[in-house]
Structures are given as C-alpha cells and as structure tokens.
C-alpha cells in the first residue's frame, strides 16, 4: 500500500508535467517503486518529458476499456531497474474517454503495487481535472510566482478542499530570485499569505529544464542543475525527510562581489 498523489495547478504551463517527471524520477532514485500516470488525454506530454514516447503501445484508455492488461500498458523506465513506470495518456481521444470511477479503480490497483502513484493532472477544472483527482489521496499544487497563476491555484485549492482532498502542498516553480529582490516578482511569503497551504518546495528558473524536457532526461538526474537539486530535495521531503529550502540568493558576479568587498552592497 502506497500513496496516490495528484499534481495539479489550474493554470496551464506552470510545470505540472515537469514536476511529475522529476519527483517521480527523484523518488525512484531514492529506491522507491513509482508509477507515473498521465491523465492529459489528447494532449499527452509526460511520455515526451520522460523520454519514453517511442515505446508506447497501449495507454490509459486501453486499460480502462479493458483492451489490454495493465501490465501491457505500463512502460518501464530502463534507467531504474523495476522501480519506475509510466502509464501514458491516449493521444487520439479526449478527456471524456475515461470516467471518475474508472480512475478510482485504476488508482486502487496501482496503489497495491507501487510505493508512489503520481498522477499528472491536465490544466483546467473540467472533466480532465475531475478524473485526475478522483483516485488521489493527496495533492500537490504547482504554481509560478505570477498573479494569474496564483489566482488559478487558489481556485484549484478550493476545488480540492471541496473534493475531500484537504491540505494540498504547494510547489512554487520558476522562481527568479533576482526579480523578487527587485520587486518585479511575487515573493514566497506573499503567495503563502493568499494560498494558505503548506510549502513543499521552491524550484528556481533554470534553462537546463528546457534541455531536459526536450531530451527526455529529467533534470533530477543532472548534478549541475539547480532545478534538479530543488526537485531532489522535494522528493526527499515527500518521503518524510526534513530538508531545508535551498539558498537561492543571487550570485552578483564579479562587480557584485567587489561591491560587497568594499561595503557598497545593501
């Protein structure tokens, strides 16, 4: 018996799929047995981000409709022995192709076999969202430090609470500490003030994410990636370990360091 966690946000493009791929990979790196489920039927991306798109034969809808056995649809990530699997979404259907009850049954089955079942939720609040949360026990809300993203995150938290998924945990993604310092970007405290949920982690903006998602190599596997390190920490926190938040203070470069040396810095 494990945990079924849904990764949601409301707003599109804030990093749900990237987060799902990275914490799934991170947990597998820590020795856990993990399955990732892509519920974004019609607009599937998790397979691409995991680098597994060429190996899809059956998908979530095939399993729900009984066209294949679950084992046939699960794709094993060869980087992790028998610890990391993907259940991809269907691409040629849409979000009405599966029902909430089918999702509940599927999640119960997966939960018996895996330590963590992580569900990548589509953007929005309609049937796709309802399907994704149907079988979940816990939720993660991903947002970026932007007013519109926070607005949508607040809406989604309200819907999660109404659906008996209380205490969602927050991931703030694509933070730019320099902009926060200049007052051009929302800071962490402002966001927690409005959203009033506990913070699971903060992931800084990192160009390496673009490379990693294009190549299908999650950033957690990259020692040099700051975002990867943040996701490694988040994975550890999910297992119950206490990990302090990364220090994201800006490195000011040579001029900044000289300024600090001569006492001209704030």
């Amino acid at each position: 018996m494990g945990e079924v966690i849904v990764v949601t946000s409301g707003k599109g493009g804030v990093g749900k799929t990237t987060t799902t791929a990275n914490i799934g990979t991170g947990l597998a790196s820590l020795g856990k047995k993990v399955v990732l489920v892509d519920t974004d039927i019609g607009l599937r991306n998790l397979d691409v981000v995991m680098g597994l798109e060429n190996r899809i034969v059956y998908d979530l809808v095939d399993v729900a409709d009984g066209n294949c056995r679950l084992k046939q649809a699960l794709i094993k990530d060869k980087r992790f022995d028998d610890r990391l699997f993907l259940l991809p979404a269907a691409q040629t259907k849409d979000k009405n192709a599966i029902s909430e009850q089918q999702m509940i049954d599927l999640c119960n089955t997966l939960n018996e076999e895996f330590d963590y079942t992580i569900i990548d939720c589509p953007a929005g609040i309609e049937q796709g969202f309802k399907n994704a949360i149907a079988g979940a026990q816990k939720s993660l809300v991903v947002t970026t430090p932007e007013v519109s993203a926070v607005r949508d995150a607040d809406r989604i938290i309200g819907l999660l609470e109404a659906a008996d998924l209380p205490d969602p945990r927050l991931i703030i993604n694509r933070l730019r500490p320099a902009m926060v310092k200049q007052g051009d970007m929302m800071d962490i405290d402002d966001m927690i003030d409005i959203l009033a949920v506990s913070l699971l982690g903060v992931v800084p903006e990192d160009e390496k994410i673009v490379v990693s998602t294009n190549r299908g190599e999650p950033a957690v596997l990259d020692e040099m990636s700051l975002a990867g390190e943040a996701y490694r920490n988040i994975s550890r926190r999910l297992t119950g370990e206490e990990v302090p938040l990364m220090n994201l203070d800006v490195n000011d470069g040579l001029m900044g360091r000289l300024r600090k040396l001569f006492g001209f810095s704030k």
Partner: protein, 143 residues
C-alpha cells in the same frame, strides 16, 4: 433568565428592551462563514454575511444586508444587494477588486497598490457616493 431571552422580539419589545438595559437589535438574519473564501467561491444571502477568514480575489459575497470580513477582503463584495443604501462593507483590511453597495460600484484608484492602510476600514454611502473610512467601533458619527 427566562426562555423569552432568545425569542423573536417585535417592535413594542424594543421599548421594553431599552427599559431593561438591553441594546437595540437589527432583526436581519446573519450567516457566518468560518473559512477563507477562495477564488471561484460565491455566497449569496439576503441578510448579513460575516466571514472569519480572508476573501481571496475571484471570490464574491452578495448580501442583502451588511458584509463583515474578519480578514483580508480581496475579492468582490456587494452589500445592500437588494437596493438598500444604508448597508456597509467592513474588513480588517479592505482591499477588494471591486466594491458595491446597493446600485453603486467602485474600485480602488489605479495608483493604490503600495499605499493600502494598515488598519480596518469601512465602506458606506454618504451623500450619494461610496466613501471609505477608518473603522471606528459603534455608531459614533463619522467625520
């Protein structure tokens, strides 16, 4: 104390109430919400609405009576929604995206964002316009 303490009281009782040293009572029904209201949540009620929590942007309260928010009011509040102009909106921190009383609609001035006061405020209609004042307990005349 007898059972009569909580019974519904009529106008004649108002005089009795004064004589017994009890304060005047406004008979409109009031509901209490004990949570922060999130974006997309909406309350419509013909009486007063009291919220023990914040009202986040995207949330709305539409009340026939008065609105009291014991927290940050950042959403939309409409008091006196049935048209009565003597209703008020008050909050620990009054920062609504839009505020309405009866048929009047107002919003914060555009340059506002840095300069929000750090004390409770009250909005009401005075001389035909919506005014925002510092909240003062009781019904003392406002300047």
């Amino acid at each position: 104390m007898t059972d009569k303490t909580f019974a519904s009281e009529k106008e004649e009782d108002g005089i009795q109430r004064k004589e017994q040293g009890r304060p005047p009572v406004d008979e409109i029904q009031t509901i209490l919400i004990k949570k922060t209201m999130r974006s997309g949540q909406s309350i419509r009620y013909q009486g007063n609405v009291v919220v023990m929590g914040d009202v986040n942007p995207g949330a709305e309260i539409i009340a026939g009576g008065n609105i009291v928010v014991m927290g940050f009011l950042r959403g939309v509040a409409h008091a006196g929604a049935s048209g009565t102009e003597d209703k008020i909106v008050t909050a620990f921190r009054l920062r609504p995206t839009q505020l309405r009383i009866a048929n009047h609609i107002t919003r914060a001035p555009d340059e506002q964002s840095e300069a929000y006061p750090e004390y409770p405020e009250l909005a009401r209609i005075k001389n035909g316009v919506v005014v925002i004042e510092r909240y003062v307990p009781g019904d003392k005349p406002k300047i």
